[in-house]
Amino acid sequence: MGSERTNLLKFLLFSGSVLVAPVLFSGGYLMNVLVFVGINTMLAVALNLLLGYAGQISLGQAAFFGLGAYISGVATATYGLNPWAAMGCAAAIVGLIAFAIGFPILKLKGHYLAMATLGFGIIVYIAFNETVELTGGPSGLTGIPYFTAGTVQFDSDMKNYYLIWGFALMTILLSVNLVNSRIGRALRAIHDSEVAARVMGVNARLLKVQIFTLSAVISSVAGSLYAHTMTFISPASFGFNFSVELLTMVVIGGLGSVYGSFLGAALLTLLPEFLRTFQDYDIVAYGLLLILMTMYMPGGLVRIPSFVSPILAKIKAGVGKHA
């Protein structure tokens, strides 16, 4: 939680680092990867609101991401809509879909909820593949335009970096505000004891659906951003595996920590780049990380400082004695 001031300070520090990061990597290949870190951060934070705060699992997040990307992509590439307008439409449509399916699905709990969201994700994935006239099917959709603002076209990694991180920072700021509010407390209450939360007057069913919808809308916006920076999308990016990857990011970063989701997203996006020479080992690494982290470090990466600092203190004390 932390106080208002430390929250603000943290955010400003983080934004500062995001702002200057390109100076260090400018022009390099890493810029492109950092763009993806931004998109994945949005997706992970969105999932964390649902999973880490409200305690509701979703294995269908990739579907909302994909729907955002495809609605944006088709609306612009096929029907010539402006990318910004397309992004708005996509968010609205995805929000409506999530709201509608949220009511029946979020009645389920635990494993059943996991399976239902997973089923939804797979149905959407199959639809991407099969509606060939609309989506281009398995071979993908090409010719999606870049974003433009006035005369500026967002066609380089550097421009897209700032565009996407603008959205990612906004997502982080709004989420930090949300989780430290009355609504955030109600969400955590539902996580700990849904029945007690309801007795306290929290409309748990509605709130769960609302947060599910919010999470879907953020994912949809991330999808639109993805479509308009890549200019090419295909179903393979939006399958079950990606939903699991997002889950891994959230768990590794830290359930119930907004900045943890950034850490998880960064690690899982950068890891395959560093493991490039050991291609295919990354999936084994995910599996291992997922198991080991949940078993031995359920707080995730963000808890490392509180994990390490007592040890450091002990070492320091030991050193002091000898000196």
Partner: protein, 292 residues
């Protein structure tokens, strides 16, 4: 036309039999632990791919390869329980979902590293001369699938209703704490349930591989379909889940044949969603009130 439909139904029943076996595996673990084991499908993959491995690389006879594959898959299942599930006995469902997903990724990844990404085929158990039944064709392998599934269901029923450890396992599924109090070794029953369902999964993987081929990633879909069967059957480890699997197999096969084969997989998941939303307790059971 009616021949065609009979054909769809017959092949649907054979895939359905596979789903039933996998579904029973899900149900057995769920009933003894309350866990949905997302790694269930990986045992199906392991069964098929290891049989292929022993057969083609070590040149073992088919029977030996199968037995070895089942034994090793079961060992993996037991190891999985000992290393991850047992230490986490009191974890929340959320954590357990994540752990079993992690295990499924890990097993799949290891399989890919060891056996590569290629698709492998197994020989039919006994020839590939098709038989004709009322105008529809059947392969001997289909008969093997029906026969082995029936046999396993019978053994399964005998085990749960007539053997001491089977009855103990049923007791655990009704009330774990009470079972512990009357002296049943609940931990051992949980281990048993993992052993049995990984063995069941691997058998399913082996008998279907000659028809559908196998590769490191077949486990996801088969596992999910098996889960769907178990959901239709209300997580019963008996006949209801078998019926669920057969129903799913037939509906899928009819849907693929008469509507569109591209949407075949979607059918299972639409059924899954409908059942979860409308009758989460399964098709054949009455709802219960959750205790507070």
């Amino acid at each position: 036309m009616s021949h065609q439909i009979l054909q769809y139904i017959l092949s649907g029943l054979s895939t359905g039999a596979i789903y039933s076996l996998i579904g029973i595996g899900f149900a057995i673990i769920y009933n003894s632990t309350g866990i949905i084991n997302f790694a269930q499908g990986e045992f199906v993959m392991l069964g098929g791919i290891m049989t292929w491995f022993f057969l083609s690389v070590f040149q073992l006879p088919l029977i030996a390869a199968m037995v070895l594959a089942i034994a090793l898959s079961t060992a993996v299942g037991v190891l999985f329980e000992r290393l991850t599930i047992r230490p986490l006995r009191n974890a929340s469902p959320l954590i357990l979902v994540i752990i079993t997903i992690g295990a499924s990724i890990l097993i799949r990844g290891m399989a890919m590293l060891i056996w590569g990404k290629d698709t492998h085929s197994l020989p039919m158990f006994t020839g590939s001369e098709p038989l004709t039944v009322a105008g529809a064709t059947l392969l001997p392998q289909h008969l093997w699938i029906f026969g082995i599934t029936l046999f396993i269901i019978a053994v399964n029923r005998f085990y749960f209703h007539h053997s001491i450890s089977g009855k103990a396992m049923r007791a655990c599924s009704h009330n774990r704490r009470a079972a512990g109090l009357v002296g049943i070794d609940v931990k051992r029953m949980v281990l048993f349930s993992f052993a049995i369902s990984s063995a069941l999964g691997s058998v399913a993987g082996i008998i279907t591989a000659p028809l559908t081929m196998t590769s490191y990633d077949v486990g996801i879909m088969l596992g999910l379909k098996g889960f769907c069967a178990a959901i239709i059957g209300g997580m019963s480890s008996g006949i209801a889940t078998v019926v669920g699997g057969l129903l799913l197999g037939v509906l899928e096969s009819l849907g693929a044949g008469m509507v569109s084969s591209g949407y075949k997989d979607a059918i299972a998941f639409i059924i899954l969603l409908l059942i979860l939303v409308i009758r989460p307790q399964g098709l054949f059971k009455k709802a219960e009130t959750e205790r507070v």
